[in-house]
Symmetry: C3
């Protein structure tokens, strides 16, 4: 009986199907107690501040975090093996004068704290990318501690 | 009696007040012997190569590193707990033809070596960002080893 | 007698001379069992999608990975000390509408798997950079596990 699965149910969250990497790498790599999680882009495409609003991008960051959780569950077998979220890197494909990257990436940070509680609080860098794979609006990667 | 505090005094350096994160994450996250330090942007705003000169950006990188040290001291209690600086990632908000990212990020690297000596030498990636939070010119994050 | 040197010979690969860092940092930093490898830019310059084709950029990513291997060999003494490639971060200097970052960075990922086999499979983030040091088309950094 998984504590995190219970939490997801209480939150009314359902994880999407976990997708395979789009190229010659692995979705997650275990390194001792650490788990490096590959970058995942949002389904939402477009430049934030132009075709995409910050609110849409924030929702996309949350959805992308859900996709990362689906991948992590598939690779670890159970999200209860996540001891802690250590670091998130978030890229926002913003117009050159876009300045609200933290608010966008908060969509993902908030989800991780809802799901994992205090252990979900992480160090974070939110940065602007000139372009992203598939024209996506947001990209996230993670470093976790597993047990 | 802190060795690093002595060093800071010898160098004539004073750390600024440590600021809280601007969103839903933590400034530093301890993971075993590692400390992941969240990205911090410079107070200096503008695009390097346009409104901002490389020399101004280098000084801003140094100041941002001082702010990171202030945060690390607050969270660890004493900078003597830093065993080594492992990795720095530096983003420079450069015009598309800007090419001198290493010189800008050197402002931070030099400070870390002044303060921590050989233990302050780190692996590093200096990259260009299309946009940065708050329109900042420079953004830095760190991975440290602590004891 | 080095297994990886044998593999390089079988693949017909020769590592280029290892270059020194261009600024005030170190090429690699050992941290416990991890090795953080500093970002290295391609010799190929230009924006992918404009002056540079994706195929040229993919070849440049492969060459940059060879340069990283040369640096790692110099610093570790022997590539057999690499237990596993944990994570690669790849930046592509793409035009704002460039979307094929994964295909470009595959040039490096494929090489690492050719050389290290299963241990060379890594987590990865492929992102767009607005500008890169020296106007380069590609930039890579690595986290390895060493023994």
């Amino acid at each position: 009986m998984s504590l995190i699965e219970d939490r997801l149910r209480q939150l009314g969250l359902e994880l999407p199907p976990a997708r395979a990497p789009v190229a010659n790498y692995v979705s997650t790599k275990r390194s001792g107690d650490l788990l490096f999680v590959s970058g995942k882009v949002s389904d939402l495409r477009g430049e934030v501040g132009r075709e995409v609003t910050p609110a849409q991008a924030k929702a996309a960051a949350r959805n992308t975090a859900l996709q990362l959780l689906a991948i992590i569950r598939r690779d670890l077998g159970d999200l209860d093996h996540v001891a802690s979220v250590e670091r998130m890197q978030g890229f926002v494909r913003g117009a050159p004068d876009f300045a609200d990257h933290p608010k966008v990436i908060d969509g993902a940070s908030e989800l991780l704290v809802e799901v994992f509680g205090e252990a979900g609080r992480h160090a974070r860098t939110a940065t602007g990318a000139a372009s992203l794979p598939f024209g996506a609006a947001v990209q996230l990667d993670l470093v976790l501690r597993v047990e």
